[in-house]
């Protein structure tokens, strides 16, 4: 069953910008759904709507099959179930103390102090932020701030976790750590993760499904492999194949049985060993 279903969502900003124009998408529990789209495609508006910061003009959202309400009294419930990790951690971390910042969401849920502490400790442990929880926020590296920001959302134990460009601005080591963390977060099996990114390599490595947005609408939805096989679609939306998919595409053009949908190192290695005649059929 789809854990999250968005149907014909529209939202117009005060200045008349139609940020969401009948947007529909679905995401499954236990999967990472990549949200692709140029800047201004409506990603941020979609996320703020899903979390209840913005109220859509029309359309519906179903969480676990039940429709979501944006009425004031239902907002706590919505914000508990859908958590957003913002792109710039300096927008999210409002406290100079990491531990206290992480506790904020849990305190707002009205939980007793022991439960808040249990959740904060668990979230810090899970994101690897425990190592620097006693440091001031301003002394953290960018990657550490991102971890702290993720921990601050995990304490609310959301069913849907939205990550807005989690690898933007990170160095290669930071990106690797973030990929590991994403894999770790997906382990629950119950959590639905939405991941907005421009990094196609990250899509290939982390996402189970992809949703392509343009001007407030979903223009395509499917698996990363299917996306990489559609040269025309990629060109139309100015998306670049990940390096390995490009290699596979080049091999396929030369007439070899290579699949551009194989964009991870493991898949590509399997195809290449098969092509080279070692351990596989040619």
């Amino acid at each position: 069953m789809d854990a999250l279903e968005v149907k014909d969502l529209t939202y117009t900003y005060e200045d008349g910008t139609r940020a969401l124009d009948g947007l529909s998408l679905t995401a499954r529990a236990g999967e990472v759904t990549g949200i692709l789209g140029a800047n201004g495609a409506g990603k941020s508006t979609l996320f703020l709507t899903l979390n209840g910061v913005l109220t859509p003009a029309s359309g519906a959202v179903f969480l676990g099959g039940k429709p979501v309400s944006w009425r004031r009294k239902d907002l706590p419930e919505l914000r508990r179930r859908v958590g957003i990790v913002f792109q710039d951690p300096d927008d999210q971390l409002f406290s100079a103390d990491v531990y206290r910042d992480v506790s904020f969401g849990a305190v707002n849920l009205g939980l007793p102090e022991e439960e808040v502490r249990r959740r904060v400790d668990a979230a810090l442990e899970r994101t690897g932020a425990a190592a620097f929880a006693r440091k001031p926020t301003h002394a953290l590296s960018y990657g550490q701030k991102k971890r702290a920001a993720i921990a601050g959302v995990l304490v609310m134990e959301p069913e849907v976790l939205i990550l807005d460009e989690p690898t933007a601005g990170l160095d290669p080591e930071g990106v690797e750590e973030m990929v590991d963390l994403l894999a770790e977060l997906g382990k629950d099996g119950a959590r639905t993760i939405l991941l907005a990114t421009h990094d196609m390599d990250l899509v290939a490595r982390c996402c189970h499904r992809v949703c392509l947005l343009e001007r407030g609408r979903t223009v395509w939805q499917g698996t990363p492999g299917d996306l990489f096989r559609q040269q025309g679609l990629l060109e139309e939306h100015h998306l670049r194949l990940p390096p390995l998919a490009r290699l596979m595409a080049a091999l396929a053009e030369e007439g070899y049985p290579a699949d551009p949908g194989a964009a991870t190192v493991e898949e590509a290695a399997r195809i290449l060993t098969a092509l080279l005649g070692k351990g596989g059929t040619t």
């Binding site: 958590g83 406290s95 001031p136």
Partner: protein, 264 residues
């Protein structure tokens, strides 16, 4: 920034900020209340020693910190030492036209000495707090003492975003300087003006984004959080009593208690 980076390295960092706050306030009140040079010096010595021995701060750091108020106090005490004397006895005096006779007397020296010692004692108390308690621990302690939430939250937000904004200002400055924005005095003035206006706009935008992020974590008008667990630091209250005992003992000595005790 400032004393805060030392506070994070303090050995007393993990101790409940309230205990440190009470020790500071207790020693401060007794020091100021006694109004004697001896108590001031004793407070200065004791509290500085606490920063070094208990907090593990380098002597150099504590001395450097104390030199800052000392410079101001020395400049300020000139006006206490040098006063109009009238007909009184003087160590050194000069007759000025219009203003009359000015100079230095034993009393004025003693007064300046007392004020100086008291103030330095008080400064040592505050530096003990500042060098061993990070700002966010201190604001959390203020919250627990039922200081107005609005005030405490404002302090915390200002403290946090001071670093964000100063970082932003630094980056704008570098970007301008890299394009010769500060080449001449005239350019510098123009560039600085642009920097400030851009910074203002960015701060406004940042404020909107921070608000959205707070709302997404169900902000309802209160920035209530739970702080990490502290060591109780009950022994600091004992230290507070011991410090006060030493201070008051020295006060009684200075008040002629010494001759009284010898006479007995």
């Amino acid at each position: 920034m400032g004393t805060d980076r030392w506070a994070y390295r303090s050995r007393l960092r993990a101790i409940d900020p309230l205990a440190k706050l009470w020790l500071t306030l207790g020693a401060l009140v007794v020091c100021l209340g006694c109004g004697s040079a001896g108590v001031g010096l004793a407070t200065l010595a004791l509290l500085s020693a606490y920063s070094v021995v208990l907090g593990g701060q380098p002597v150099k750091t504590v001395v450097k910190c104390l030199l800052i108020p000392l410079a101001f106090l020395l400049a300020g005490s000139v006006t206490l030492v040098l006063r109009p004397l009238g007909e009184g006895a003087a160590l050194w005096a000069v007759s000025l036209p219009v203003l009359g006779r000015w100079g230095v007397s034993v009393e004025s020296l003693a007064l300046a000495g007392t004020v100086l010692c008291r103030a330095m004692g008080a400064a040592a108390c505050l530096f003990f707090l500042a060098l061993n308690t990070p700002v966010c621990d201190l604001t959390a302690a203020l919250g627990r003492l039922h200081a107005p939430a609005l005030l405490v939250e404002l302090m915390e937000l200002i403290y946090r975003f001071l670093f964000v904004l100063s970082g932003e200002a630094g980056r704008i400055h570098t970007a301008q300087a890299a394009r010769l924005g500060y080449g001449t005095w005239r350019r510098s003035i123009t560039s600085l003006g642009e920097l400030l206006s851009v910074l203002f706009v960015r701060a406004l935008r940042r404020g909107e984004r921070v608000y959205a992020a707070l709302e997404s974590r169900y902000y309802t008008g209160s920035l209530a959080t739970v702080a990490g667990q502290y060591e109780k630091g009950t022994w600091l209250y004992g230290l507070l009593l011991a410090t006060a005992a030493v201070q008051i003992f020295i006060w009684t000595l200075e008040r002629g208690g010494l001759s009284w005790m010898l006479w007995r």
